[in-house]
């Protein structure tokens, strides 16, 4: 069954694991219940490649075992934050075995929101509130400190004014006209890296990023805040995040620009005074940017 390695090829990278392991953890403090439900992808890289080369499976930790391990760790360690749990999974695989060289864990947290009415919280009932998804990506190499990324995805927001776009470059293919007053609709994706994995209040940090994105997008509630471009709003948001959370080292934000067009109704005898718009899925603009803290000298 074995074959010798092919002299014409070399490995670039390998990894295997289990995707979409779903688990819910409940912590009961008397009648007050806390839940965390998540979906985890776990990937391992092993020291040898004999599984790929010769079909020798003796080093492989089956992906079924990986799944069982995720469940077991939920019981043994509990789940307080998805980042903490991802760190626990990495630590387990790197310490329980001596032939695992890298672990990558990506987790999505299911957005359960505790029911609340008039400031009173329900002790045990929740509703799915997918206004924003909390995800994390933790990677750790053997004998290195883990690298933790957290993120927000699919947070869709829309404002109907206080957005414009003018003064852009024109060439012979440009037909776009200046806009002083347009809609701004986007589905925000943000991913940031922490400079430490020790004692970070991950949930509080995530909420701060979410609130900061909304704050910079919407502006003050009575009048909003003008956005001269998606790029500017994106950058301002990033700077504010870095200012507010000292442990965030770098942040990437992607904001598609989902366009709404005024539809011409003159052919059906109506005069559309910018009241009826058509949402256009595609194509959409896509604006990206990543900034990081400049490394500072330490006193």
């Amino acid at each position: 069954m074995g074959t010798t390695s092919n002299p014409n090829v070399e490995f670039v990278r390998t990894g295997y694991g289990k995707n979409m392991v779903k688990v819910l953890h409940i912590h009961r403090e008397g009648i007050h219940h806390h839940i965390t439900e998540l979906i985890a992808d776990v990937q391992l890289t092993l020291k040898t490649r004999k599984d790929y080369l010769t079909g020798d499976n003796s080093d492989i930790i089956p992906t079924d075992t990986i799944k069982n391990t995720v469940h077991a760790l939920a019981k043994l360690k509990g789940i307080k934050t998805i980042e903490g749990f991802a760190l626990d999974i990495c630590e387990h695989f790197l310490t329980a075995f001596n032939h695992v060289t890298r672990v990558r864990v990506n987790i999505d947290e299911v957005p359960w929101k505790r029911l609340e009415k008039n400031g009173v919280e329900h002790t045990h009932a929740f509703i799915l509130c997918p206004e924003a998804w909390h995800f994390c990506e933790v990677e750790q190499h053997l004998s290195m400190t883990p690298v933790v990324h957290s993120g927000i995805r699919d947070m869709k927001v829309l404002k109907t004014t206080q957005s414009g776009f003018e003064g852009f470059l024109r060439d012979r293919f440009t037909t776009l006209t200046d806009a002083k007053d347009r809609f701004f609709c986007t589905s925000v994706y943000a991913r940031w890296r922490y400079n430490t994995h020790v004692n970070v209040a991950f949930d509080a940090a995530w909420k701060t990023v979410k609130d900061t994105i909304i704050q910079k997008f919407a502006g003050p509630y009575d009048r909003g805040e003008y956005s001269p471009s998606v790029q500017k709003t994106l950058y301002d948001t990033q700077v504010l995040v870095l200012d507010r959370i000292p442990q965030v080292e770098e942040i990437e934000i992607i904001m598609p620009n989902q366009h709404y067009f005024i539809t011409d109704m003159t052919k059906i005898g109506l005069s559309n005074k910018d009241e009826v718009y058509l949402p256009l899925d595609n194509p959409s603009g896509n604006i990206t940017g990543t900034i990081r803290r400049k490394p500072r000298a330490k006193m």
């Binding site: 307080k80 630590e91 020790v198 940090a205 909420k207 000292p246 490394p295 500072r296 000298a297 330490k298």
Partner: protein, 332 residues
């Protein structure tokens, strides 16, 4: 010991910007405080009393672990949670800072630790906490505590920084016949916090006039110069610090940062590698060193990314220090 103090300062706990009222039945668990996972004291009997005793004795790292253990052993324990709640309400930021401050209330002579804490908080951008620590330094300092008219009033929120700065300036003016290098250090840190780097440089220079062999001060001067965009002078200061203390990893790291700022990326990488190699030789398992190590690797990756040698960048990603040392012809 200093490293432990600084490690404690690195741990922190964000609060929401609008700081809602915390009901008394909310445990630190719910607040998202990240307890140590492998706490050797987790089943320790009388962890709470032991923790308070250790914090009185100034043995902070173990005190924190014991107090965490006490909270975890019995989250419903009214004495423990009342203490935790009251002290976090008062200091509202950071459980370990809470322990430090509590320890210092009971054992106020540890001014050195308090200053080290302030420096560390400044380095990690915890401006409010740094200002609080510096205020505590005055409050516990027999030479200057008379300056505080009403000690508790200044614990109320926001712009603490200008008031604390005024306090230090007042202290310096009242004692203008001698230079107190520790007071000047505090002033230097405050000017760093307010980004008045040239004034900070003056303060550290004043401190150095009294203690010219203090390698920590030389490093602080260097970092201040660097953060104030005076990179060449910063390099001189770091060089002096390293002459006095060749194994001083932080200065080596800072030297690398300055090299990056001056565009000397290869030289920067060399400094970071030297720092990592020194760390590895010391075989330190201290958490503070692990965290510093993470910083050095991050900075190394930045330097390497500018060198257009992807195999070196990849080696940095997987932590292959030996390969990198060989690539830079450095002794291992």
């Amino acid at each position: 010991m200093q490293a432990e103090w600084e490690e404690l300062a690195r741990r922190n706990w964000l609060t929401d910007n609008d700081r809602p009222q915390i009901p008394s039945n909310v445990s630190p668990y719910e607040k998202g405080y990240y307890f140590h996972t492998d706490n050797p004291f987790k089943d320790w009997p009388n962890a709470f009393e032991e923790g308070l005793r250790k914090s009185r004795e100034g043995e902070l790292p173990n005190a924190v672990l014991l107090l965490e253990a006490a909270v975890l052993q019995d989250p419903q324990d009214s004495e423990v949670s009342e203490w935790a709640y009251k002290t976090t309400q008062r200091f509202f930021r950071c459980f370990p800072v809470v322990c430090v401050c509590r320890c210092l209330e009971l054992h106020p002579n540890n001014l050195q630790a308090l200053m080290a804490l302030a420096v560390s908080l400044t380095n990690t951008g915890m401006r409010q906490e740094a200002a609080e620590a510096l205020l505590s330094w005055i409050r516990h300092n027999p030479k200057y505590k008379y300056l505080l008219k009403s000690p508790l009033s200044v614990f109320i929120s926001s712009p603490l920084l200008p008031e604390v700065k005024d306090l230090y300036l007042e202290a310096a003016q009242h004692n203008s016949d001698t230079i107190d290098p520790d007071l000047q250090t505090g002033l230097g840190v405050l000017y760093n916090l307010s980004s008045e780097f040239n004034k900070a440089v003056e303060a550290f220079n004043a401190a150095l006039s009294v203690r010219p062999e203090d390698y920590l001060l030389w490093n602080r001067l260097g970092a201040t110069l660097a953060n104030g965009d005076r990179s060449e002078e910063a390099v001189e200061a770091y060089t002096r610090a390293l002459e006095l203390q060749p194994g001083f990893i932080r200065s080596r790291y800072n030297l690398g940062i300055s090299c990056i700022n001056m565009g000397a990326h290869r030289e920067a990488a060399g400094h970071f590698l030297t720092a990592l190699s020194l760390q590895r030789k010391s075989r330190s398992r201290q958490l503070s060193h692990q965290v510093m190590s993470g910083n050095i690797w991050t900075a190394l990756r930045i330097a390497l990314s500018m060198l257009d040698q992807p195999e070196l960048f990849q080696a940095a990603n997987i932590g292959d220090l030996d390969l990198l040392m060989r690539a830079f012809n450095l002794d291992m």
